[in-house]
Amino acid sequence: MTARTHPFRRKTSLATYQETGVFWALRLFTYVILGFGVIIFSTIIYKGSPAVFGSQRLDTTFPFLHNDFLFTKPQTLHVFKYRGEIKQMSAENYYAFVGQAPDAPPTPAASPATASALSSTGVNASDITDHETYSYAAGGIWPQIVGTVLLVIGSMLIALVLGIFSAIYLSEYSKQGPLISAIRLAIINLAGVPSIVFGLFGVGLFVLAFGWNISLMAGWFTLAFMVLPVIITASEESLRAVPKGFREGSLALGATKWQTIYLNVLPYALPGILTSSVLGIARVAGETAPILFTAAYATSDKLPWELNISPDRLHSGFLGYLEYPFAWLHDFAFHGVNALPYHIYVVSSKIPQNAYTERVQYGTAFVFLAVVMIIALASVLLRIRLRSQLKW
């Protein structure tokens, strides 16, 4: 112990306890948060993945590539006892099973007129007992996936164009002064406005004032306005991060201001802008409130491209052929869609929660996570690609 008397000897004091305490408190909080995250995500993955990958899929047929959960429309789930055996069937299969048209009365067992009749498939309706139905619990969520992807792509395009334009104006053209500072402050504050407020703004302006009704178009603009503040702020920062020398060098060679920005500033700011837009994507894909009244239907018979354009809307003959694509685009943009976050809201609050509905509830949440991750991953890859080409 004699060697331990040097001046830098470790001493135990209040400060050492404080140091250890702070370290463990910080570590504990971090791991608790991490733990909650792991629990939430693993529950969704554990309960949701069977809907996509196997054991809970209804109507399973051999080529598993045809994934009924991902690529079919939602259907009502029929649960009933048939000769004492519990059966689950999608509406389509159920009506095939009982040999009845879907628009006939849905509960044949309860209807005395058909109770004794033997249907064409040989199923005696009186053998069906304890018949229950659950909306959306059978079939898949293909329209919801399509709707979410369309909403994300359209609104991000609008938000990026508007956001980059105004960021270029703010950072490159405008004279810095009190007015521009006020505008910048207002934009930053807009980022904190709750999404339901943007939803109501969208209803007021796009749905009612512009008369766009509940449509993809109204949803695109509402979501775009919601993420614009984030995109403008981040784009401005990315533009400012481009060295001044690039601008001066270009101008000194006789470039106009716009040539300089377009050729020698914007390309180097794009990776940064895309990074910030990844956050925007997650928000656009995930928000329910802005699309609740502007773009989303709980059910929709047709996908946006499946709408029939009635011939009497078009001119006859050659002019009609010219008009057709415009009519198609019009119907595409001005028709409401389904969306994953809204579907999660519907299936978790509007239908009972039990063993029969868990598939669609957790399955939708799981697919939603996967879709957001895939879109975000795609833009990260795009950013890395841009970044490797334009490095300084």
Partner: protein, 284 residues
């Protein structure tokens, strides 16, 4: 590099001494060269503060004019007035006087600043190659003018790189990134990029301040060659550099032109006390 009309100068060039050692009569003839830039009683303001006070002197054709002086004396400001780069800074203005290039007032509203900058090229303190290939850096100015003819671009690249004494070093890697070049090569690339658009005047804002001594020597040799074709104005903190590569030196202090004369005269026999103090290192 070869000055055929002057065998003495040629002999000097061969031993790579970029010091001007022309005869007295030739020097006098040079100083009487025609005026290209006429700076006429210029006052310049950053917002309310006056940065240049009544600057008045001519810049002669195909000579190297050096601006020296302590930091903040206004030499860079004046340089950036000559191709209107100060327009980029909010709140700057010429309060009085005029700057005429070939007799045209460059601050006249009828002047197209883009055309002006094509004629008056600039090399910056910090070398600023664009993050593109060497080739694309050189042709940037031409592409801006809508020239995309490959033969013409190739020819310009070779001519400019030869002009900037860089051709031999980079001819095999024209299509690799300009950022892979060393600091001195990058600065010479910026000079090549400036001469690619065939300006008449080249402004250099402390072009060697970020370079090591060997790279500095190369750029100075290059300046010495370039003055055969271009009028060069160079701002420098390095007085030895001004002495080595300029013909005329202007000394600025506190936004005022203190003295302008032939470089040798300024460095050996200045008329103003302030100039002598600065050059002998007593302040600045």
């Amino acid at each position: 590099m070869m000055d055929e009309s002057n065998p003495t100068a040629q002999a000097v060039e061969v031993v790579h001494t970029p010091v001007v050692t022309a005869s007295a009569s030739e020097k006098a003839a040079r100083l009487n060269a025609p005026t290209v830039i006429d700076i006429n009683h210029v006052d310049f303001y950053y917002g309310q503060s006056k940065a240049l006070h009544d600057i008045h002197f001519p810049i002669k054709e195909k000579l190297v004019t050096a601006f020296i002086g302590p930091s903040g004396c206004g030499k860079s400001t004046l340089l950036r007035c000559l191709n209107r780069m100060n327009d980029l800074v909010d709140g700057t203005r010429i309060g009085a006087g005029s700057i005429k290039i070939s007799g045209i007032d460059i601050y006249d509203p009828s002047v197209d600043v883009i055309e002006l900058r094509k004629r008056v090229g600039m090399v910056f303190q910090k070398s600023n190659p664009f993050p593109k290939s060497i080739y694309e850096n050189i042709v940037y100015g031409l592409r801006l003018q809508g020239i995309n003819n490959k033969g013409r671009l190739d020819e310009t690249v070779e001519r400019s790189l030869r002009g900037a004494a860089l051709w031999e070093e980079v001819r095999d890697r024209l299509h690799t990134s300009a950022l892979g070049l060393s600091g001195g090569q990058q600065q010479r690339l910026c000079i090549a990029r400036a001469i690619a658009v065939e300006p008449e005047i080249i402004l250099m804002d402390e072009p060697c301040s970020a370079l090591d001594p060997i790279a500095t020597v190369k750029v100075e040799e290059l300046i010495h060659q370039l003055k055969q074709d271009y009028t060069i104005v160079i701002v420098t903190h390095n007085m030895q550099q001004a002495g080595r590569c300029s013909d005329i030196t202007a000394f600025f202090y506190m936004g005022r032109l203190i003295e302008i004369d032939a470089t040798e005269k300024i460095f050996t026999n200045p008329t103003q006390k302030q100039t002598e103090d600065y050059i002998s290192g007593r302040f600045g």
